[in-house]
Amino acid sequence: MAMRAEGLVVDGLSFRHRISAPSLKNPWATRQGAGIHGVSFSVPSGSIVGLVGPNGAGKTTLLHLLSGLRTPESGSVALNGKEWKDMKSSPEARNGIGFMPDGVRWQGNSTPTKVLRRMSIIRSVDSSKLLELVGLKSKADETLDRLSAGMRQRLSLACALLGSPTVLLLDEPFTGLDPVAQKALQELLRQLADRGTTIIISSHLLLELEALVERVVLLHQGQVIIEGKLDSVRKKLGLDRRLLVEGRKGDAKEVLASHGEILEYHEGWTATLYREDGWSLQSREELVTELCNKGYPPYRVEAELADLAEILSAATGSESISMDLADSAMVPLARKEVEEE
């Protein structure tokens, strides 16, 4: 297989938000808040990348830096081989980028047609086919106030697709879309990726994301914890060492325990086994042979793939999946290196 060119290379991006901290001496004083620190990763052209992390991990901040909405304190971004220090002050760099922010509340008496007309003036491109592409043709002249949340989401997507960008940054694109529209969006994104568009999606809808992405960038406390192809990420996190074994007869617990650590066992029986050195073809054969010999023939033996939620949980070190927000998730790990003001 031919190597794909690097579509997007992010090198050491750092940024801290300024938080208002008024005092009697200085009512306009600010201090450093949460942000991202030394974020680096690369994405080949035509890849779909999932940007995942807990709330406050820095996903939206990273997308803002990549789309030129904010100026990084340090680091650079290379787009199709050309390096940019600050996307914000480089309109020509943003030519190749389409950005769809999270939860745009389109409102007023304007219409999707008028919105796209304005955007097409800004980009100096034609927008005539975009409403059809995102399924909004029938609502082209409806006022924005009358659009549903999903329709507004489609309009934001249309704006991001304007000018056929080579890098598409999507912040929570599935929110508000009905299941059919979600599938359609996934299909559209796959087609765009096939045509060479690099797509970065930040989403909390991990199931939808998992069906789409081939690579992930895991952000936690403003830093990249792990990145790469899904399989290699599972491998790095030791989440490829689990084997799902199912059978009907007897209680195979003892036999199973002699081959690996039992993570889960249900009567009937279904078991999830773990081996530190992973499950080679030979070790699987040995397990199946012994189970058959002892009278517990399995009808299903397969590697259990960790989903994105588990990957996220494993990567961030969370013991369990819960609503709790770690205090430390709001500031970069490297905060101690930065002088607080």
């Binding site: 803002h64 789309s67 030129g68 909405l69 904010r70 914000k88 309109p91 020509e92 760099a93 943003r94 030519n95 980028i97 950005f99 769809m100 922010p101 999270d102 939860g103 745009v104 509340r105 389109w106 409102q107 008496n109 304007s110 008028k114 007309r117 304005r118 955007m119 003036i121 800004i122 980009r123 100096s124 934001s156 704006c159 991001a160 000018g163």
Partner: protein, 276 residues
């Protein structure tokens, strides 16, 4: 800077707002205030307070400018108070800022759009008002008078548009957006006289008699710090000496330039730093 793109975007803003509810509120107000003032003040049978002189077409325009100060500047507030804050709060601004366009261009287009949406009807109504004065008084204002009047009015609205857009860029919610917009309008339109009297009292200038030449000179100087004041001082340069306040025209020109440049530079710089 791509001037063509700036003008196209400004035109787009004007088109989108031309039939808005705000325009439906503003249009009758502007019509009544501007046309009504020109027609009424130029009526030979109208009885004006003795201190107000409106014997020539330009003097009528000068008095009518008070009504423009009240209505057209309010129009700029109405269209500009959420010129940036609204799209910022809804998230549209993030989409526009992420487009491949220099922020300066976007800032100019928003400013010109806000200015033009009020300036175009105001200037058209002013021209209609000049025609009404001609009908009532039987003579035209001179070309120089008309040019200065239209130019000054356009500049006044531009200053207000810049102030409103700057204030809007500071606001992070609709409440503060309205508060900042209205406060700026109130300060220069309603409270400025109070500010002038207050400063005069502090500096020991007699302010109980507003026709006192010393107070007139002082108030003219204080007016250099208000867009409304500069607007009137600009118009006063075409009035007879006994009707205008004693101040050097050079100072008025300088104030005009500074009121145009300083808020504009501040607004453009603010827009460059604007966070979505």
């Amino acid at each position: 800077m791509n001037l063509r793109r700036i003008l196209s975007l400004a035109k787009d803003e004007v088109e989108q707002r031309a039939l808005s509810l705000r325009m439906l509120i503003m249009a009758p107000l502007l019509t009544l205030f501007i046309l009504g003032a020109c027609w009424g003040i130029s009526d030979p049978d109208a009885s004006l307070p003795s201190s107000i002189s409106a014997d020539t077409p330009f003097e009528v325009l000068f008095v009518a400018s008070l009504f423009i100060l009240l209505s057209a500047t309010l129009g700029v507030v109405l269209f500009g108070f959420d010129g940036i804050s609204r799209s910022r709060m809804s998230g549209n601004l993030a989409i526009e800022l992420a487009q491949p366009i220099a922020r300066r261009e976007l800032a100019w287009s928003m400013l010109l759009g806000t200015w033009a949406v009020v300036a175009i009807p105001t200037l058209l109504l002013s021209i209609a008002g000049i025609i009404l004065i001609r009908i009532q008084m039987g003579e035209w204002a001179s070309f120089a008078d008309i040019s200065l009047f239209l130019f000054s009015t356009a500049m006044l609205l531009f200053w207000y548009a810049v102030i409103q857009m700057y204030a809007s860029s500071l606001a992070k919610d609709m409440g503060s957006s309205i508060a900042l917009g209205v406060a700026a309008w109130l300060l220069f339109t309603m409270v400025w006289l109070l500010v002038t009297v207050l400063v005069a009292s502090i500096l020991g200038v007699e302010s109980s008699n507003t026709t006192d030449p010393l107070y007139e000179t002082f108030s003219a100087k204080v007016d250099l710090f208000s867009p409304n004041g500069v607007y009137h001082l600009l118009l006063e340069t075409r009035l007879a000496e006994d009707l205008s306040r004693p101040i050097s025209p050079l100072l008025v020109v300088l104030a005009t330039a500074l009121w145009t440049l300083l808020p504009l530079v501040a607004y453009l710089k603010r827009f460059e730093k604007l966070q979505p």
